[in-house]
């Protein structure tokens, strides 16, 4: 029983990692209806920026805030310069642009910072304060993810800018008619998603250690998590992340062994999607002919 509980808690901790990146994925999807495969690498790149600041002597929280701003600007710049030229291209062409972004960011980071793993500090205390089955950082990271989720919810629901962004994503034509600058809303959406990704990266790095391939494995899980929660639902993405983390751990420890746990977890998720095609919390869309 204790082992079971321990695995669940460990699963929640890794699930928190998946949830935070899944949140960023969903945010981009909400704004653009595209899944950004380069989200993980953007988060990783922002984390390296934070690492450079901290390495140069800056204390943690100022570096954290500066990195969030950097990530936001990076997102906006990428949208304006790299994504804008292909906004009318076929969907798959845009996907390939994301892939190009992914390899470029990964390769450039490796070139600048080398592939040696680096230690990234955690703002949370070293002693386990939530009991010995979950580190303070693991619990803290989950907390940060939930706080970010809450802030996003408040932003989109109760601010005029949030409303404008939602309008631009749902119905660009009508939004333009009421004077919303749709292009800039898109860029802002990217910026916000990149900022969320940056936070995710800084929460993940103390656990998995910082290296250019840090987010590669996480992206796969985050993608599955985002889909199972309903690709257009941020809270669903977070739920999906925790679900995937716990499921994977339980399968690996008690059911199928570690070699096939990812495969089986994915099969189960697909099974769910076959029964409920919009995921757990997604909206069901009715298409008119």
């Amino acid at each position: 029983m204790e082992a079971f509980l321990h695995q669940v808690l460990a699963g929640l901790a890794t699930g928190g990692i998946y949830a935070s990146l899944a949140l960023a994925l969903v945010m981009i999807y909400q704004a653009t209806h595209l899944v950004n495969f380069a989200q993980g690498e953007m988060a990783m790149f922002a984390t390296y920026f934070a690492w450079s600041l901290i390495n140069a002597g800056m204390p943690y929280w100022p570096a954290f805030l500066l990195t969030v701003v950097f990530a936001f600007v990076l997102g906006v710049v990428i949208e304006r310069i790299i994504i804008r030229p292909v906004e009318n291209a076929p969907v798959l062409a845009v996907v390939v642009v994301f892939i190009a972004l992914l390899v470029i960011l990964n390769s450039v980071t490796g070139w600048i910072f080398t592939y040696t793993i680096k230690v990234f500090p955690s703002p949370f205390p070293a002693e386990p304060i939530f009991g010995r089955y979950i580190t303070s950082h693991g619990g803290g990271a989950i907390g940060v993810t939930l706080v970010v989720l809450l802030l996003l919810y408040l932003f989109f629901r109760f601010t005029p800018l949030g409303l404008a962004m939602r309008a631009a994503a749902q119905n660009p034509a009508s939004a333009r008619l009421v004077g919303i600058r749709v292009g800039w809303m898109l860029a802002l959406g990217w910026g916000l998603a990149a900022a969320v990704g940056g936070v995710a990266g800084m929460m993940v790095a103390p656990i998995v250690y910082l290296d250019p391939n840090m987010m590669g494995g996480v992206l796969l899980y985050a993608f599955a998590a985002a889909l199972v929660g309903g690709i257009d639902n941020p809270a669903g993405a977070v739920f999906g992340g925790f679900l995937v983390g716990v499921l994977e751990n339980l399968l690996g420890a008690f059911v199928i062994g570690n070699e096939l746990k990812l495969a089986v977890a994915l099969v189960l998720i697909i099974g769910v999607l076959v029964v409920r095609p919009s995921g757990f919390f997604g909206k069901v869309f009715v298409t008119r002919v």
Partner: protein, 318 residues
């Protein structure tokens, strides 16, 4: 097809046959690999370009074809050419069976399902209960085919011609298929699913069959690839391979047969070129090439070529 197009194709074929005698063995080997990728990309293009179903896991069918060939050759002594029909059948069935349930999913969800396949297959190949057949992480080494009947060419050249012959056959079959009823049904489903069904097309069957045929093509390519490289291991078939295939068909041109060839040349040679340009960050250069191709030719090289030909003809007519 016009007479002019037929003449062009004949010339192309002639050039392809002359190639191994004009360049080194190493280059011939590289072109053999490019041909193998062309078959794989044609398979994926049928599914994604013509039928609108995205697949992030076609590397898995490539792997299944490769392992089928390797296991047959290594454990059962099957001659290399006989492994092709076997790989074809295995992948046709596998693709069809995968397509059936995957039908319920559309767009992103289908992407996830195929992605799960692409990610899970290497894990399965390493699974210790299957090690007896798959060789586990050590993989399987196979022998190089020798030229038959004592022909005066070396093994690399023979392999090239063998692969070329298979490629031509597969391309002709695909062209026939896509031109006919099946092809039109595939495109109709891609463009307007509901209208196609309303017109009496059995969308479920067509989509599953397309999956099967697409998997078959990629599986045959995998078998040829295994024979060319003479080695299969789980590391050769990771998720990145599926991404490379996707990149190939987009760069080459969706819904285009010639696109498969352009795409294959891109994914075979551009990484090498990028490596020569920058030893420090070659994949960054590759990414930049990719961006360039997509910005300049968002519909792929094939459509850019088509456009250029049309413009040239218009100029000529003036």
């Amino acid at each position: 097809m016009s007479r002019r197009q037929l003449i062009l194709l004949a010339l192309l074929l002639l050039a392809a046959c002359a190639l191994p005698f004009l360049v080194s063995n190493y280059r011939t080997f590289q072109f053999t690999l490019a041909l193998v990728y062309a078959i794989a990309l044609l398979g994926l293009n049928m599914l994604t370009g013509y039928n609108g179903q995205i697949s992030l896991g076609h590397g898995a069918f490539y792997a299944i074809g490769a392992y089928t060939a390797a296991i047959l050759m290594d454990q059962y002594g099957v001659p290399y050419w006989a492994t092709l029909p076997a790989a074809a059948v295995v992948c046709l069935v596998a693709g069809f069976l995968f397509g059936l349930p995957a039908l319920r999913l559309q767009g992103l969800y289908l992407a996830l399902a195929t992605f799960a396949l692409g990610v899970s297959l290497p894990a399965l190949l390493k699974y210790h209960h299957l090690e007896k057949w798959t060789g586990g992480v050590q993989g399987i080494v196979i022998d190089k085919p020798e030229p038959p009947f004592g022909l005066p060419i070396n093994a690399d050249q023979w392999l090239y011609f063998f692969v070329l012959a298979v490629t031509v056959l597969m391309f002709v079959l695909a062209w026939n298929l896509l031109r006919g009823r099946m092809g039109r049904a595939m495109v109709a489903i891609r463009d307007h699913h509901i209208a196609a069904e309303a017109m009496g097309i059995d969308a479920a069957m067509v989509k599953s069959l397309t999956f099967g045929v697409s998997a078959m093509y990629t599986g045959i390519a995998g078998a040829l690839g295994a024979i060319a490289i003479q080695y299969v291991a789980p590391d050769s078939f990771n998720f990145f391979l599926s991404i490379v295939f996707l990149v190939g068909i987009v760069v080459g041109g969706l819904a285009s047969i010639s696109g498969a060839i352009y795409g294959a040349l891109f994914i075979q040679f551009v990484p090498n070129i990028a490596d020569e340009i920058s030893r420090a960050a070659p994949w960054a250069i590759f990414g930049i090439f990719l961006l360039g191709f997509v910005y300049l030719m968002p519909m792929g090289v094939a459509s850019a070529v088509r456009l250029a030909l049309v413009l040239a003809r218009a100029q000529g007519a003036k």
